[in-house]
Structures are given as structure tokens and as C-alpha cells.
Amino acid sequence: MRPSEYFLAHIWLVPLLPLAASAVMLLFGRKLSNAAVSVFCVGSVFLSMVYGFGAIIQLIARPVGQRVVEFTLFNWIPAGAMHTTSGHLVNFNAQWGFLFDPLTAVMVGVVTGVGFLIHVYSIGYMGHEGGYYRFFGYLNLFMFSMLTLVLANNILLMFVGWEGVGLCSYLLIGFYFLKKSATDAGNKAFIVNRIGDAGFLLGIFLLVGTLGTLNFSEFRGAILAGHFALGDAALTTIALLLFVGATGKSAQIPLYVWLPDAMEGPTPVSALIHAATMVTAGVYMVVRTNAIFAMAPRALEVVAVVGVVTALYAATMGVLQNDIKKVLAYSTISQLGYMFLACGVGAFSAGIFHLMTHAFFKGLLFLGAGSVIHAIGGEQDMQKMGALSGKIRTTYLTMAAGTLAIAGIPPLAGFFSKDQILAQAFRTNHTLWLIGWLTAGMTAFYMFRLLFLTFKGTSRVPPEIEHHIHESPASMTVPLVILALLSVVGGWIGIGGRFENFLEPVIHPRAVEVYTAVPNGAAGETPEALLMIASVAVALAGIGLAWFLYIKRTELPEKIAAGFGWMYRLVFNKYYVDQIYDAMFVNRAKDLGLTLGAFDRTFIDGLGVDGVGWVTRVTSVISIYWDKWIIDGSVNLVANVARVLSIPVRWLQTGRVSSYAGFIVLGVLLFLGFYLHAAGYTLASLRH
């Protein structure tokens, strides 16, 4: 690398700086002051952002064909030789390596930029909360995981980041761990994610078995080299399994149920993790492995259908919610559906474009909602808000900008990205376009409903709170303003196809062809212009309806709701999906857990632990008796033998001299006898 590529050379600092700050927080954070924590954590993210943007600029400075930087930190799993399913012998190894190409550049820019703004916002928002150091520690750990995920050069390392963000999501959703609803939500998020991850892992295994490598560049190369036919069964299966993982992480049907509950976490968490970055990991993953998807048209169909159906489905639920954060949550699910729709119709770069603009305005909307909640002292129910536009002007204006952007009104950001997706959807399948178009209208409707209920109309705020309504501090409003500006101008980067040109090297040629090809039969440009007008029209219709129902004739919504009766209740209760899942899966799992617990108690604890205890007691009793009777007994035996033997000998010691004299004589007698015997005289020979 040339010396002027300092930032590219040091790209590995980008994930590691937040990791270091997180480690410091989780080890020593308790003893640090809030100010010190802020400096450490926000500072580390700021440095990451600087290095990240520096790297982006230096990447752009390179000529188009050379915009790839790969960098290995260390050789992680050098496992050795293995056979692929087709019989090739490959060397399997997984490295801890980073890949920096245009796609990564976009993601790093979004993650560090929006991440930094949200960190600044959090200084003000979480300033009075307990566990300040813990919050920032987890948040920085999240930044590390997310950046590892986007910078990974192989799918296994990406999975490490994937799991890391899942962990941080769990930790941060359950941040207020004394609230049962919060901890339950954290568990739900992690467990539902895990189900998706099972699919992801199976996909990785199959990928390694089929393609023989985990590295993105390598398997993209293998597919481009033409080893696999279009529609190959193995590739389709891999793509579908990977997509299962994506549905878990990015909250699509059927694994979306955790995202609304995740709103239990603090609002900056909702903004960063559940709007701008983590939930987009699924989209990023699909785009990163687009080579596989591009060769598996059936899988792409599934992705598109799931995406658009989820978009509509979530929008219907968002229309009726009253909690401001829940509305935004369903909106997120819906917009993620758009991104998957984009991937499914081959417009991968449009999907990433929408990811970026969505990060801007959804992040803004969440932070703004947080500002509103902060202003009225913690209330989240929109039915208790209203007429706040005069009192918290900055928040109102920035949120208005965000709402316009998400509704797809030109020239704000949302228009450009959404329009590209819908255009490509139209070219692929009219039904897909129709559903997407209707959803756009509903999006505009419920977002403006949110805006009007919160800021306009009559005030439904309880009187005692009304006196305390105040605008948020600068640390919170400045990020709002910056994000509002980005929501306005951020779309202009995509004009004239500059964005997809930038990402072209990353996308599989077949997808690029499909995307840029002019469909036969219909004229090229005209449908585009018509589509654009249609999108704007439906958006305006939605806004108009919202204005009508919530500003002009505010008594109508209840009447309509009553009129629809059971249909209203069905949607309002989110189609009872949570209850269905509970009955079908969750309770089964709980029953299994109880059964295993009982098994554990009776067999493992009973036989194993208690059994071992009983055996120990028995052996100890045996050894007591052994010790008492046999060991001590043998010692006593020796002593008793000595005692018994000495009894007769004792009689000899009379203490009387006469007896001793007698013994002396006896001795003399015996000695003389012996002497005579030795000289050869027996009794017989004495007789002469």
C-alpha cells in the first residue's frame, strides 16, 4: 500500500477502538465518572468514524478496478485439508481478516457516522440514568461487533459479528433489568434470533461443503468462474438457509416478533440497533453473498415475496398502534421488507441505498421520539400527547423532516431509494409493485398519523406534566439536526445511477445485467416517470387521509374502528401472532425445559450427586469400622500378646532375694549339666 493510504492500512483500528473502550468500561467503569465514560466511549467511536471516513476517501481515490483491500489480522482456524461435496480437496481455514470494498465502505460510513451521532445523543438522554458506564460499555461492544460483521472477509467471522450484535441487543434491550417486561423482551429477541441463526449455520456448513471456502472473494470467484449452473440445487439451498438467518436478524416473517418487544430498551438503543444498523445486517449479508443468490432465481423469488408481504403486513399493524415507539418498530419491519424486496428483484444496490437512507430518517425518527418522551417525562402513549409543536420546536421540525423522508416525498432521501426499488419491482412482476405501492401509501398515512397525534391537535397531556415540557439539551438536538439534514440531502447521492456504479464491482454481473437492462416491450424511460408520479401520488393521498382523520375530523377514527369491529381488534392485537407462537412453540419449549429439569433433579442430582454422597458415607462407615476393629485391633493385639506373654514371666520377679538365689543355683545346675553333656557324659555312662 502507498504511504498516502494510512487509513486503509489501519482499517483494523475501526472495530478495535470501540472494543478497547468497551473492555475498559466493563472492567473499571464503575469507578469512573460520567464525564470520563463519555470521553472514552464517544471518543472511541469518534476515532473509529474518523478512520472509517478516511478509509472511504482513500478507497475512492483509487481507480475503479482496484477498490478492494484485504487484510488478515491473524490466522484463526487453520484446520487443514477437507473434501468438498464435489470431491475437490481444499484447504479449510478461517482467518480473522478484513475486507474493504465499496459495499463495506457504505456500511462502515453508515455504522460509524450514525453510530457516533447516537452516542452523542445518548450522553444527554442517559445522563440521569443509573448504569451509565454499563450502557456505553454495551453500546461500544455493539459497535465492535457490528463493525466486525461488516468488515469481515469471510462468512464465519461475519457470523461472529452477527452473534456479537445479537448478544449486545439482548444486553441492551434488557438494560433496565429490574423490569420483567424488559428482560422478557431481551430473552425473546435472543431466542428468536437464535432460531434464525440455526438456519444461518446450516447455510454456512453447506456453503463450505459445496464451495470449499468461507472467504467472500474466493467463493464469488468460484461462482463467477462458472463451476455452477444457474439454479443449482445446492446454491439454492444455501441461499434459502442464509435467508432464514436474515429473517431472524432483520425481523421478517416469520421471525419478526421480537422487534416490537425490543422497544423496552432505551430509545438510543432502539435507534441504533433496531433501526439503523443491527437489523440491516440481514440485508447486508444477502447483498454480500449476492453471487449465490444471483445464481438461485427461486431463492430470490422467495426473498422478494417474503420481503413485500412483510412490508404490507407490518404496515397494517403500524396503522393502529398507539405507542410511539411501537409504530416506529413496525415501520422498521416494513422498510426492511422493502430492502429485501429490492434484493429479491435483483436491485441489490437499491437495497443498500435504501438501507442508508433508512438509517438516516429512521434514526432521526427514533431519536426524535426519544426527545418527545424525554420532554413529557417518560410518556410513550400518543393518546396522551398532542400540540407539542410549539413547545419543542426543534424536535418537531426535525421529526417532520424525517416523516416526509420516510413517506417518500421528493426531494428528500426516502423518495429516491424507495422509487428505485419500486421501479425494479415493476419490471420484475407487477403484483410485487402493486403491493409495494400500496404499502408506500400506508407508510405515509401512519407516519403522518404519528406526527399529527404527537405534535398537532389538542393537547391530551396531563396538566401536571404540561408545565415541565422543555426542549432537550444540545447534546440531543444537534444529532437530530444533523440527521435531518442527511435525510434531506442524503438521497441526492443516488441520482444518475452514481450509487449503483459505485457498488457495481461487488454485485454479480447477472444481477447487474438484469437491473440495468431495459425490459422488452415497454419503453425505457416513460414507465419510470409514470411510476415516480404514482409513488408521490399515493404518498400524498396517505398524508391527506391522515390529516383528515387526525386534524380535521378527529372523532372519526373511533367510529371507524368500532365499525370494523372484529377486524379492527384482530389487527390491533397484531393478528394474535404472539399468542399463536406461545401456544405452538414457546409452551412446548417450556414444557421440555420443565421435563428436563425434573430429569435433572431425579437422576442427575438424585442418583448422581446424592448417590455419590451416599456411597461416600457408606465407604466412610466401612473405613471407620476397618480402622477401629482391624487397624486398632492389630495394634491392640500386639500389645495384648506382649501382656499375656509377660504374665507368667512376672511371677519370676518376686523381689525376694532367696528366690533369686534359687534361680542362680538352678542356673549353675543347668550349666554344669550342659558342660557334662558337652564332654560326652550321659546318665548311662556315669554308672560305673
Binding site: 532367696s658 534359687g662 543355683v665 545346675l669 554344669l672 549339666g673
Partner: protein, 169 residues
């Protein structure tokens, strides 16, 4: 002939006195009979041409030791002992042992007796004359060390006896 008579006479007195020593109840009687036994022994010595020993026996043994015995007998309360049992309860055991020993020794003597000379085959008695001079010569030349030791022994015994018998005041 004369030898025989003299020998029998002294031997008889010696044995009879000895028996009486060990059987008398009164300790003084035993002492007296011991004196007679010692005198008879002295006569035996004389017959064996041991004139010096004859004198030494009478002066030392009888005149010294026996006098000491009689002193001690007087010091010790005699009246009490007179009324008590004289012989041990297992006296027959001692008798048995002595007789067994006697039998054995008799056997031993009988075996070797034939090799021993009688008065006719023995070297002439003049070898032992002059007795005292010869004894003195041998004592102070060949047996000087035992002599000195014996004198130390006597000293020790004297001191010991004095210490032992001293009344603790």
C-alpha cells in the same frame, strides 16, 4: 592313718556345725556354730600344710567377721524373729535343687577322681615350706596387682559400710 583320723575329725565337726548353722532358730546359735565350722576348716587347712591360711582364717574370719556378725545380730531385734517362721514355704524346692546339684557334682568328681593323686603320690609337702614366706613371695611378686585391688576393695567396703550403717541425723 593319723591323717585319716584327723581329717575325719575336722570334717565331721565342719559338716555337723554347718548343718546346725542352717537349722537353728536362734541367730546367735547359728553364729556360734559357724564359728566352730570355721575353726574346723582352719584345722583342715593345717592338715593341708597351709599354715598361713590357718592363722589368717582364725584371726580374720573368726575374730573379725564373726564378731561383726554377732554385733549386728545384737543390733537387730532378735526377739521378734524368734517367733516367726524360720524356713520358707517352698523349702523343699531349695532342698531339691541342692540335691540335684550335689548329684551332678558328685558325678563330676567321680569321673575325674581316678586322675587325682592321694597322699602317697602327691608331691612332698616340703614344697610348701616355709609356707608364710612362700605365700608372701608369690603374693608380692606375681599377684601384686590383685593385692592392690583387694586393698582398694577393702577401703571401699569400709567406707560403704560406715555410710550405710550411719544413723541419719
Amino acid at each position: 592313718m593319723l591323717d585319716r583320723i584327723v581329717f575325719d575329725f575336722f570334717a565331721g565337726i565342719a559338716i555337723v556345725s554347718a548343718i546346725l548353722v542352717v537349722t537353728r532358730r536362734n541367730a546367735v546359735h547359728s553364729a556360734i556354730f559357724l564359728i566352730t565350722a570355721l575353726l574346723a576348716t582352719a584345722g583342715i587347712f593345717l592338715q593341708l600344710h597351709a599354715e598361713f591360711l590357718f592363722i589368717v582364717q582364725i584371726i580374720l574370719y573368726v575374730g573379725g567377721i564373726m564378731v561383726l556378725f554377732i554385733f549386728v545380730i545384737m543390733l537387730v531385734n532378735l526377739d521378734v524373729a524368734l517367733h516367726q517362721l524360720q524356713f520358707r514355704r517352698q523349702w523343699w524346692l531349695g532342698l531339691l535343687l541342692a540335691l540335684a546339684l550335689g548329684a551332678e557334682a558328685t558325678a563330676a568328681i567321680s569321673i575325674g577322681r581316678s586322675g587325682l593323686p592321694d597322699s602317697s603320690t602327691a608331691p612332698p609337702a616340703s614344697v610348701l615350706d616355709p609356707n608364710t614366706e612362700l605365700v608372701g613371695r608369690v603374693l608380692f611378686t606375681g599377684y601384686l596387682l590383685p593385692l592392690e585391688i583387694a586393698s582398694v576393695l577393702l577401703l571401699v567396703a569400709m567406707v560403704g559400710a560406715v555410710v550405710m550403717a550411719k544413723r541419719r541425723t
